[in-house]
């Protein structure tokens, strides 16, 4: 049965009424209009749906909305604004670090979670943090450079 859940998304409160097992991804995209996170596989294998929950990168395609209650959810839209993009967003633009960009939400969000806990990650640490995020276009090296650039900007 649908129930009402109170969520904290990008610093704002939001209540939604739906089945508690609904994956957070569809709530963000279809109820909240936050299209940053993408459906890639629905299996937790590709990372396109990554959002941040209390500082940790999670796969929103497999994360039931009821489990998000009481936690801080951050999405790509909540990282920065058009007027003041997050250093990661600036760096991805500066490095032209994508081709199609479908995976980029996951790349930026996984990198954001990494930089939260490690301000100056080594290249192997970045690769390891992103190893579960798939990119089919082959933009990996640009993504690495963008994250390194953002880390420099933020340090």
């Amino acid at each position: 049965m649908p129930e009402t859940y109170l969520l904290r998304i990008n610093g704002e409160s939001r209540s939604v009424t739906l089945e508690g097992a609904t994956p957070l991804l569809y709530v963000l995209r279809n109820d909240c209009g936050l299209k940053g996170a993408k459906f890639g596989c629905g299996l937790g294998q590709c990372g396109a749906c990554t959002v941040i929950l209390d500082g940790n990168a999670i796969r929103s395609c497999r994360f039931p909305v009821r489990a998000a209650v009481g936690h801080q959810i951050r999405t790509l839209e909540g990282l920065g604004t058009s007027a003041a993009p997050h250093p990661l967003q600036q760096a991805f633009i500066a490095e032209q670090a994508m081709q199609c960009g479908y995976c980029i939400n996951g790349m930026i969000m996984a990198a954001s979670a990494l930089l939260e806990r490690n301000r100056s990650p080594s290249e192997p640490e970045i690769r390891a943090a992103l190893a579960g995020n798939l990119c089919r276009c082959g933009s990996h090296n640009r993504i690495l450079r963008a994250i390194q650039r953002a880390a420099r900007e933020m340090s």
């Binding site: 081709q99 479908y102 089919r136 276009c137 082959g138």
Partner: protein, 739 residues
């Protein structure tokens, strides 16, 4: 002719350079051949089909090319801005809409700059001439006395000025292009040839809606499809009641063996799909060639068409040695990161479909035929999807969405495939076998080259002549047939793309064994047959070089005449620090490969470094150096991005990828059963671009993928002395070869 003179005089006034025309190859071309328009402009001659000058100070460009994540719209915007003499920021690229845009067919084959750019450049040059003629009439001066800077037209002495935006209404572009016009010369370029930031990247980095997947229309419903478990499975029974009773379900669609659900919410549609899968019983016949070698199966098809596509016979030195080898490439998936999606609804009596198709017009035609509608009653609007790299599920999803929408009275339905829909039903790139026979003279020169390839078609896109190439059309109660598979003629070629080498051999015979049968669904993936053919050709060149005991780069240079081909090899060797005669150490190795894409497009040479773990057979490609000559470069960083990506994707094909299937069905259904290269495995890539601002741009988007497998195979050989001839180079295969 008056326009052309005006343009020449104008530029000479504006720049003070008078003599450059005689130095510019475009002028020579104009005199020779361009009495006719670029083909895409000739097909869509009305200038306002391409260009609209907006009174608000922008220029809208209606290209017939679609953005697939390759950055072509940014490069086309550069071409338009350059030719119109307006700032890059003033250009608005309008996505293809069959209600408005020129018809450029399919965006494929690395043709956006070479063909699409040529048409847009010419259209823009003509529009500029019309704007100037209008301004001249308004100001009462000769057009030749005017110069343009960012859309502001000034008299030579700068006393009076008028802008494009002021005369937009009067300078009508509702007229046909009139040949000939001489576009701006390369040495005057200020926008083309310089890095331009991709127009689509900021939205994607900020999380703004950018994809068809992100489209949300009022009262939109959500759809999912349930495919048969295999290509030819037959539906025996379906318990509809279990599905219809689920929360949010608006409709269950059953039309033959096409099954789908429409629900109010997306997760409800997914739950209904799961229930529908459980509610359906199928008969699943054994029909796939799972036993034994798929290559042997394909080569044994009875209806193979054997075509000699190139044959030269000349006098050469006697053959002292022959080498023969057979190479194999498996079925590969596009494996787009975003499952295919479309949004469809009936609006004002017109079925309107938003799709990430590569060919909005061919899709419209196939949709109309599949649905029995007049083509005017179907409108396709391009909206970006995840990178497709060829013909994936995009077009099929468009028909799926249309069928679901029509089942709910034309309401707007957003349909997205699930991950297993994409893997199990996308059209793959055909498995191929290639046999190369090289005859070497005593000095090591190849004097005889015999080459045979076996492949299914690489072109089952919508727009076929005698059928409908959309998946659901084959599954409905009254099924339609797919088009008859056909080989694509050279020089582009299909299975035989790049089968004819750029090297000069005294005798050569290239035979294409075209297999019309398609046990697995196949169509276009980046490079089509080029990946298999360049793997075979460039591996054999290496085998021959080794047999002749000649350095592999030196060996290739000896067989090349085209200085630009030699140029990319030399540039790659220089950048990589190639050491002729250097030996592999059993673990580390370095390999080279070259191709001129489609034999007429971009030149690419690659040097790959690899490390082979002899204990487990794992090959790591650590670095790839690429040198590319794509003629005139429009957006250098955009080109680099394409070259880098093409190398990494093809390295993934080479090391990991192979579509798995059993006797009944495709068993690669997710990223675990179809793994691709990850962050811990991708090579560094260094790209050297050789720019020719005064030469035409050459198609380059896919070019770097073709030589990757051979460069890696040659590196593994260099490291270990072991020659791998069957893709992919998985650890088990490598380990087996090493022992």
């Amino acid at each position: 002719m008056a326009l052309e003179m005006t343009r020449r005089e104008l530029i000479s006034v504006a720049t003070g350079i008078v003599v450059y025309f005689s130095l510019d190859p475009y002028v020579a071309r104009a005199a020779d051949e361009s009495e006719r328009l670029p083909p895409m402009l000739a097909a869509n001659p009305q200038l306002d089909a391409w260009i609209r000058v907006d009174p608000v100070g922008t220029v809208s460009i209606f290209s017939g090319r679609v953005e697939l994540g390759q950055g072509n719209l940014t490069a086309l915007a550069q071409i338009a801005a350059e030719e119109l003499d307006v700032a890059f920021a003033r250009i608005c690229m309008i996505p293809v809409d069959t209600a408005r845009s020129p018809n450029e067919g399919v965006t494929a084959g690395s043709n956006s700059m070479q063909a699409g750019g040529a048409a847009l450049r010419d259209a823009a040059a003509q529009a500029r001439a019309i704007l100037i003629a209008t301004a001249a009439a308004r100001l009462g001066v000769m057009p030749a006395d005017l110069a343009v800077n960012d859309g502001t037209i000034r008299e030579g002495d700068n006393t009076r000025q008028i802008t494009y935006w002021q005369i937009a209404a009067e300078a009508t572009l509702a007229r046909d292009a009139t040949p000939p016009i001489t576009p701006k010369a390369g040495n005057l370029y200020r926008i083309v040839g310089h890095d331009a930031p991709r127009l689509d990247i900021p939205d994607k980095a900020m999380g703004r809606a950018a994809f068809v997947q992100d489209l949300q229309l009022p009262d939109m419903l959500h759809g999912r499809v349930v495919r048969p478990p295999s290509y030819d499975a037959q539906l025996l029974a379906l318990d509809e009641s279990a599905v219809k009773a689920l929360p949010g379900v608006v409709a269950l669609v059953r039309d033959g063996r096409f099954l789908g659900v429409v629900a109010k919410r997306e997760e409800q549609a997914i739950a209904a799909r799961d229930a529908l899968i459980n509610a359906a019983q199928w008969r699943v016949p054994d029909s796939l060639p799972a036993k034994g070698s798929v290559y042997a199966y394909l080569q044994a098809r009875p209806d193979i068409q054997v075509m000699t596509v190139s044959e030269t016979a000349g006098a050469g030195p006697a053959i002292s040695r022959r080498i023969t080898a057979t190479y194999r490439k498996p079925y590969l998936a596009h494996a787009s990161l975003g499952p295919s999606c479309a949004v469809a609804g009936v609006m004002d009596g017109v079925l309107t479909v938003w799709s990430h198709t590569q060919g909005p017009y061919p899709l419209r035609g196939d949709l109309a035929r599949a649905l029995g509608l007049a083509v005017e009653k179907v409108r396709v609007i391009h909206s970006q999807g995840a990178g497709c790299y060829g013909h994936n599920g995009a077009d099929d999803a468009a028909l799926d969405a249309a069928l679901l929408s029509l089942a709910v009275g034309g309401r707007v339905v957003r349909l997205q495939w699930m991950r297993d829909d994409e893997f199990a039903f996308e059209p793959f790139s055909s498995a191929m076998s290639m046999t190369a026979r090289a005859g070497l003279a005593a000095d090591g020169t190849i004097v005889d080259w015999q080459y045979d390839l076996w492949s299914c078609t690489f072109n089952m896109r919508p727009g076929g002549r005698d059928g409908v190439n959309l998946l659901a059309a084959w599954h409905r109660e009254e099924p339609l047939r797919p088009a008859t598979p056909r080989e694509i003629p050279l020089p582009a070629g299909g299975g035989d793309r790049n089968a004819v080498p750029t090297y000069r051999f005294a005798n050569q015979k290239i035979v294409d064994h075209f297999i019309p049968d398609m046990p697995l669904r196949v169509s276009a993936l980046r490079t089509l047959g080029g990946f298999g053919n360049v793997f075979a050709t460039e591996s054999m060149m290496d085998e021959a070089a080794s047999a002749a005991n000649i350095d592999p780069i030196e060996f290739r240079l000896r067989h090349l005449e085209d200085p630009r081909a030699k140029g990319v090899l030399t540039a790659a060797a220089h950048t990589a620090g190639w050491m002729p005669g250097a030996k592999g150490d059993g673990v580390h190795g370095r390999g080279v490969a070259f191709c001129r894409y489609e034999t007429t497009k971009c030149y690419v040479a690659l040097i790959a470094d690899c490390v082979v773990d002899r204990a487990n057979g794992l090959v790591r490609v650590t670095r790839v150096v690429a040198a590319a000559d794509a003629g005139q470069i429009i957006n250098p960083d955009g080109l680099k991005n394409q070259i880098e990506g093409g190398i990494i994707q093809a390295a993934s094909w080479t090391l990991k990828e192979q579509v798995q299937f059993d006797a009944t069905r495709i068993t690669s259904r997710d990223w675990a059963s179809y793994p691709i290269l990850t962050f811990n495995e991708v090579p560094e890539v260094d790209v050297v671009l050789i720019d020719h601002p005064d030469l035409p741009p050459l198609g380059a988007g896919e070019a770097s993928s073709a030589p990757v497998a051979a460069a890696i195979a040659n590196a593994i050989f260099h490291a270990t002395g072991v020659r791998l001839r069957e893709l992919p180079f998985t650890p088990s295969r490598v380990k087996q070869a090493l022992t």
